[in-house]
Symmetry: C2
Subunit: 167 residues, 2 copies
């Protein structure tokens, strides 16, 4: 058991689930003649983030965790996605970044000091606590909320779509 | 880094978040004179599980993971909760079960063969893959869906309620 295997392959598996879920959402829009923007802008309550933002944050959480645990700079990407294709490209870019990290960059990362700013607060963690109580929970929070927005809008998805890693 | 620390303290931290979230939901019902059953039976789409069931499954996923990784029988609890108090008791019972497991019961659990039935399918995993690609993702899926149901119904919660472990 090591912190690379508890982070990168988990994020990539579930980013591939997210990509497959997006494909189903796009196909649903095409089949029912639904403007994709209706789904991309959907949210569960007025002060919650819309679907597109949920996907962007899932991407940010995964790339931020990979970068911080590998000890490299967190890449900054503008949040400009306006279509399912744009979101697929964002997920693809996140997968490329994560899979380019080498397992040996994560040596000792469980004890590395991690500092970040989130929700206007300064947060300090050791690497292991960061991964287990912040990064992965946040990642699954936004992934699940994206899934829930789609289900709430009638897109046919099931737990296997969430779990399957795009298989 | 070991598989006990990557499982039991994660589940207990977020079960405590869930307990605190339930308290806010109950207080909201009392303040607005909302029948608690309306919230307990709320769901995001007709074929999704209601709030009460989301909490029960979060509990089941956590106790199942703790038991399987510790190599003890998974306790079976009837799904009879009918109130916020009942759900708090279920969460409390789950916390008691998990915290009674000893870290040394998890020695070698990352390579243990885990067999379970879920969604009508027979699943086989090694312990580590079970924890990282099934147990924790499922746990966060149901926890987040419970949170989303409450937010969709106007209960005032924020990301800190999800992350704080009841602090």
């Amino acid at each position: 058991m090591n912190i690379h295997d508890a982070s990168v392959p988990v994020f990539t598996h579930f980013l591939r689930s997210l990509s497959a879920i997006l494909k189903k959402a796009e196909a649903h829009c095409a089949a029912r003649k639904i403007d994709p923007n209706v789904i991309l802008a959907a949210r569960l309550f007025p002060d919650m983030f819309a679907f597109t933002r949920q996907v962007q944050i899932a991407s940010d959480t995964a790339k931020g965790a990979g970068a911080r645990l590998a000890g490299v700079a967190v890449p900054s990407w503008p949040d400009e996605e306006k279509s399912f294709d744009d979101l697929q490209a964002r997920i693809g870019k996140t997968l490329d970044f994560l899979t380019a990290l080498k397992p040996d960059q994560f040596a000792g990362a469980e004890d590395r000091d991690i500092h970040l700013k989130a929700g206007g607060r300064e947060l300090d963690f050791k690497g292991f606590a960061y991964l287990e109580t912040s990064a992965k929970p946040n990642f699954f929070f936004h992934l699940t909320t994206a899934y829930a927005i789609l289900r709430h809008n009638g897109i046919e998805l099931g737990k296997p779509d969430f779990l399957a890693g795009g298989q």
